[in-house]
Structures are given as structure tokens and as C-alpha cells.
Amino acid sequence: MTISAERPTEVATSVAPPARVSTPWTQRPGWMSQHLGTAIVGGFLGYILGHWFGNYISSSYPYIVNSGQNSIAVTLALTGMVVGWLLGIGALNYPLAKLIGKDAPAESEVKGWSKYFRYSTDHKVVGMQYVVGVLLFMFTGGLLAMAIRTELLNPTTHVFGPGTYIEIVSEHGTIMMMMATSIIVGPLGNYLVPLMIGSRRMAFPRIEAFSFWIFIAGYMVIFSALPYGGFSTGWTGYAPLQTQNGPGMISYLLGFAVIGMGMMAAGFNIAVSIINYRAPGMTWSRVPIFVWSILATASLLTLATPVLFAGGLFGILDKTVQTAFYVDEHGGSSYLWQNLFWFFGHPEVYIMALPGFGIVAEILPVFTRKPLFAYKVAASGMIGVALLSFFVWQHHLFQSGINPDMRPLFMLTTELISIPTGFIFLVGMGTLYRAKIRFEIPMLFAMALFFNFLIGGVTGVFLSDVPVNVTVHGGFFVLSHFHYTIMGGLLFAFMAGLYFWLPKMTGRMMNKKLGLIHFWMMFVFFNLTFFPMFIIGLLGQPRRVFTYASNLQGLNDFSSISAFLLGLSFLVFAFNLVWSMWISPEKAPANPWDSLGLEWQTASPVPAHNFDRIPVIMTDPYHYSEPGAPALADFGGASSGAATSDSHSAKNEGADND
């Protein structure tokens, strides 16, 4: 760490200890302050106010007012709900106070569990909040998936009508996609990145908290589609079907805009934090690989999401003030939506893949007791994927009639992206080479990612090949492909990450027996659910249909029953979570997996400011099985907790056993 030569003493003296600002009423403990309850009240009031106002300004059209089809009223109601929610939780206190130049309020003094229901600027609290948030999304979307598979038990329509069915399909896709953008960046990214880079804080803690609370607001907005009668466009929302749809479409468009704001905020904060708050000595070649993946993801979140936001804005304008962005007959173009959507959509796909790679690459060295193989290749691969992902979006439009002469180009870029994606296999296989693998639950999930993602990745090459794409585009083949990459990749990585880091985050171990049941059920039934879908797709079943050829019933039923059992595995997970966290908590050792990572070297539970002294990083965290390896970091003499001694013994474990 360098001190600037001039005025070191001045720096030291000029920082007065922060004046004790009396806690404003919004931050007081207890019920007379701002928390989830006030947010709900705020959202409710905002909704009513917005709805009333929307009907008021269109009151000269009697057939529209209170028809339930008044797009302006619906838009304003939902916007009001989001604003009211943010006001209620206190997200806007400081931005408003700033207008008169006020200082930031003192950080929340609230202790105990109730801080999780507040607008907390502690990245650890936000991380935990995100865990609950993404699980909320996941279980909602999962239930809808169960409904889809129920309908597909039979080749004709039997449980749901076509209208309900298409609502369920669209809602499932949208909720899951929204969740998947945040499922790792939100919980694990927010919680772990500062710990991994040796920082005491995020760069913009309020923006971070904002990203979480607007994420939940986005959940409410997209969920409101169901009471509004749903939307029938699937998660892609293609115009002109979009234009044709009722108020449920507003929930979709606004939902994506709102979630998009959360994504931009989260990515913005995390990217800036990683760039600036790395502890002294944490050079770019010492940054944990997980942080690299989160950096690549955060950049994509920040830069690609504005396009989605703009696309959603255009859609909302089409629905409310009757512009014609996506209306061909009035000078717009339905292709415009497809281009904008997929220009965001394809980077989004990698937003959902990269963090998974990061987690797996971070976990492998711990359980193999070997350093990460080809670290530089891994990091550059992640950045390469992030860059290339902006140049592949038209492969979603191969059969659409848009720019047919560009197909070879997009076929090339799409297949090129499999080179940096393939690096994760190089890294994984190199790390496993002659290792001493311990098959703990996180490791099992990480290995499962390689199994699943291999199938997902290879089928991706089939999809990118235009001649083959003719058969597999828009069918169950592509459906299975992206479930293999997103669920088989990202969700398995998320589970690996949860099992791996929950002991650090909560101080409690997840039950291993239940974990094993969860893993094997999830892994087996995931593959039994989705592998038949490749065949179903090749045999000619398009996506999002409620009827299919009767000869496909056997495969579909097989897939459905596996899907129910896959759903059951999530109940096992939920049970494990409740059991291990609340019912029968087992205290976690300070470093249960003998990791060398910086995040394990601070005290457990993590103190409010993460590190008593800002650590000075000496080397990278992958010196496994290396006798005489340098210590990871200098904690400035201040003992940083029990973890330190554990990790020393872990480091020498390989040598001891020799």
C-alpha cells in the first residue's frame, strides 16, 4: 500500500471521527420506522393512486375507463406501485434528501433478524435478502413449470384451457429468466465479492440495496400479469402478438423495465466495486476467478440491459400513447422488437452462464486440493465470452427472414463463442488432473455442471448450424438446450455455491444427508426430464404447445413424471434449508472446506466491516498442495478470526500426508 508522499499526516488528521448523527426515525428499530410493512403499504397506495389517475386522465373515453383494459391506468398503477414500494422501504429517502444537500443518513443501527426486512446498505444483508428473493422467484416459476408438465401429460388439452396454459408458459419463462439474471450475482455476488477482494464495503451500497428492492418490486409487477389475465407471448414478447395482448402485456413490459433497472443497478455497483475496492496487492492476476466471472457478468448487466429497458419503454409507449414502434402498418416494425430484444437477450444468456462458471472454477481447487488450472485462460475466456456475446444475437432469428445473408456471419460468431466457453472445460479438467477429489455436496453440484453444460453446450453448436437449425429452431430441442445450460449450468452452480458458502454466510452447515438426497434427485431427474425433450424436439414438437402428436405421449409423460420428481427435489432442498438453518442448526466450523479463499479468512460470523484491518494481499488464493507457499494476505497483525489458523493447516495438508 502506498501512501502519497505529500501530506500523509494531513490525511490522518483531517478525517474527523464521524459525528454521531442521531438516527432518523426511518431507521429506528421496531415497528415505527421503514421496513417491509411500510413498503407494502406504500406499494398498495401507489397502485391505487396510479390507477385512479390513469382512469382520470382518460375519463373522456367512457368505454375505456374502468374497463380493466385501460393500458394507461394499468401502467400508471404499476408504476405507482413500484414508486410507492420504494418510498415505503426508504429507497428514496436519501435521493430526496440530497436535493437539499443533506448528508447520507447514518447507516442502519438495527440489529437482529429485523434488519433483513429493511433497506439495508450492508452488502451481507443484501446478499441474504437476495437469497430469499431469488428463491421466491424460483419456487414461483417452478410451480408454473409443474403446471406446464401437468398439461403435457396428455396430448390434448385436459387440465388447463389454452388461454390458461399459455399464461402459465409465458409467466414461467419470464419469471425464470428474470430470476436467472440475478440468481448468482444477487445473492452470492453481493455477499462474497467484497469479502473476496478484501473490501469492507461496496462502492455504492445504496444502489446495491436499491437493486434488491426493485428486484422484488419487479416480481410483483410480473406477477400482476396473472390477475390481469396474463399475456400470451411467452418470455420473448414478440410483436405484433405483443400489440394484440391485453393489460397482462403491460406487466411484462414494465416488469422487464423494472427488473432491468435492478439489473443495471446491481451490475453497476458490483463492476465499480471490483475495479476500485480491491485490497492493496490484489492485482488483476490475483483476483479470484469467481470475481472475474462476476465482473464480466456485471459489465454485461450494465451495458446490455439498457437496450431491454429501451425496448420495454417502446412497447409501453405503443400500448399507452399509441406510438407505432412495433406496428408494421404504421411505419413501425415487428422486427425492431426482435432485434432489440435479442440484442439484450443474447448477452443475457451469458449473464446466466458466466457466474456459474465462476462458482465451479472457484470450488474445484478447494475439493481437488490443486491450484486452478490455466487461470489466465479462464479469466480471458470470461471476458471473451462477454465481448463476443454482443455479436451473436441474430442466431435467434435464423428463420425469421431478417438479414438472411448475414446468417453465415452469425453462424461463425456463434460457433466462435464456444471457444471461450470451452475454456471452462479446459480449466475444470486441468484442475481435476491427478487430484485428490473430495466429493462433498458443493463438489457434486460442480461436477454435475460439467455433465449438464457439456450437453447444453454441444447442442448449442447444433442450433447454431443453420441447416440443422431448420429442424430444431423453435422446438423442444432448443427448449431442452437452454434448460440444460441455464438450469443444468446456472442453477446447479447456484446450488453448489449455496452449499459451499452458506456455512460462511449463516454460520450453519447444510445437512449432508439431505443434501445428498437433494443432489442425486435433482441431478438424475433433471436429466431424465430434459434429455427426452431433445428427442421430443427432434420428433417435431414445437415449443409452447398444449397439444402434440399422440405418438409423443410416452416421452412427454416420462418427462413430466421426471419433472414432478425434479420438483420434489426442490422441496427436499427447501426442507434441508429450513431444517439446517432453523430447526436443527449445526454450527459450521470457521472453514469447513479448508478453502484458501480470502472470504474464509475473516472472522465468522463476518464482522460488520468484514476485515478488522484492510488486508494486504500477497498472492493468489490457489496455493493448494504447495508446501512453503506464501501466506495469502497480511491482516496487519490484527487477528482476523479463527479461520486463519485453520487455513494454514489446510494449506499444508498435502505436504503432511506425504
Binding site: L99, I100, F268, N276, I614
Partner: protein, 217 residues
């Protein structure tokens, strides 16, 4: 954008730690300002893409029948006031760096006024457009741009206003006259102003592009 650095409550025991945290904080403001421009660029790029895409596809020959144009006077005035705000912000920052806090305040508040006028004109322009939103591709894109421009002006002016308001509160820390304060709070404040100014410069650039696209072409 961010709160002013006053030393967090973290136990920064040593001068090194305080120095580190200050540098990280200043760096964050710098990086954040640039990243914000990146986001804004993609937002503008979406509008520009929509503009050129609809223009080149010219569906139903309704890209821009009879070469309809949004009210040019409004366009120029909105543009003028936005550029004025940007110039005032840049000028103010230049004076601030020289320690002339009063100049910065005067220039800044004038800039806020100019931003608010631009905002008012941009909203009022909706009542003066000679077409309805869905009448053509141009009309749609223009409405989309105008809505987005309202957002831009609101955010930009808000950022300018909050730095000014903060500047008034911390007059003492900033110092006045030729002397430039080197206190961390003042450094942080100046970094924030620099980022804000930089963004206003970019906003003015973007506004120029769209002035040409929507009003001049």
C-alpha cells in the same frame, strides 16, 4: 450519484487505510461516471437503432410521410438549453478547480435553471407536435426519444442540483477564494462534480446527434 466521503464508520485505524479508502472512493466515482456513460450510450444506441431501422425498412411507406418534422423551434431551444447547462457545468467545474466556489455556485444554479427550462420545453413540445404518435415511424421514434430525453434531463439536472446543494452545505470544507481544499470530503466532492460534468458533456453530444436526426434531417 454517491454520498460524500467523510470517512466511513469502518475502523480505519491507520493513515494507510484511510488513504486507501479515499482512493477507492474517488476511483469509484470516476469509474462510475464512465460506466454511466456506457449505459447511457446503449440507451441512446437503442433509439438510434430504432430510428435507422424503421427508416430503412420504411414499412407501409410510413417512415416519414410528407417529411413531417417535430417543431423545429422547440427542438433548437431544448437543445440550446441542454448545451447551455453542459457548458455552465463545465465552466463551473473549471472555476471550482480554481477554488472559486462562488462562481461554481452561480454557474451551476444557472445551469439548473436552464435544465429545468429544457425539461419544461421538452414536455410542452408534446402539445405542439403536428402528428399523433402512431402516425408514422418517425413520429413513434420521436416520441420515444422525447420521453427518454425527459429522463435524461431529469437525471442530469438532478445530479447537478444535488452537487450544488451539497456544495452549499459544505461551504466551509470546500473553502473559498483561491485556496483549494485538500480535505477528503472536498476531494470527493470535486470528483463527483467532475463525473457529473463529464456526463453533461456526453449528454450534450448525444443531444447534438438527435438534433440532427430528428430536426435537421
Amino acid at each position: 450519484m454517491t454520498d460524500i466521503f467523510k470517512g466511513s464508520k469502518a475502523p480505519n485505524a491507520t493513515p494507510e487505510e484511510r488513504e486507501f479508502e479515499l482512493r477507492a472512493h474517488l476511483g469509484s466515482i470516476w469509474t462510475g461516471g464512465r460506466l454511466f456513460i456506457g449505459m447511457y450510450t446503449f440507451m441512446l444506441a437503442s433509439i438510434a437503432f430504432a430510428y435507422f431501422y424503421l427508416r430503412s425498412s420504411n414499412n407501409a411507406q410510413l417512415w416519414r410521410p410528407n417529411h413531417i418534422t417535430a417543431p423545429t423551434y422547440y427542438g433548437f431551444f431544448i437543445y440550446g438549453f441542454m448545451v447551455l447547462t453542459a457548458i455552465l457545468a463545465i465552466y463551473g467545474q473549471w472555476r471550482l478547480r480554481k477554488g472559486e466556489v462562488a462562481d461554481w455556485q452561480v454557474a451551476g444554479w444557472t445551469g439548473v435553471a436552464s435544465g429545468l427550462i429544457a425539461l419544461f420545453l421538452q414536455i410542452w413540445e408534446f402539445t405542439r407536435v403536428p402528428f399523433y404518435p402512431g402516425s408514422s415511424g418517425y413520429a413513434s421514434t420521436f416520441i420515444g426519444y422525447a420521453v427518454m430525453n425527459i429522463g435524461t434531463i431529469v437525471v442530469g439536472t438532478y445530479w447537478l442540483e444535488t452537487t450544488l446543494a451539497r456544495g452549499l452545505r459544505m461551504r466551509k470544507e470546500l473553502g473559498d477564494g483561491a485556496e483549494i481544499s485538500s480535505s477528503p470530503a472536498a476531494q470527493s466532492f470535486r470528483a463527483n462534480v467532475a463525473s457529473m460534468t463529464y456526463n453533461w458533456g456526453f449528454i450534450a453530444l448525444g443531444a447534438t446527434l438527435f438534433l440532427v436526426l430528428f430536426y435537421l434531417m
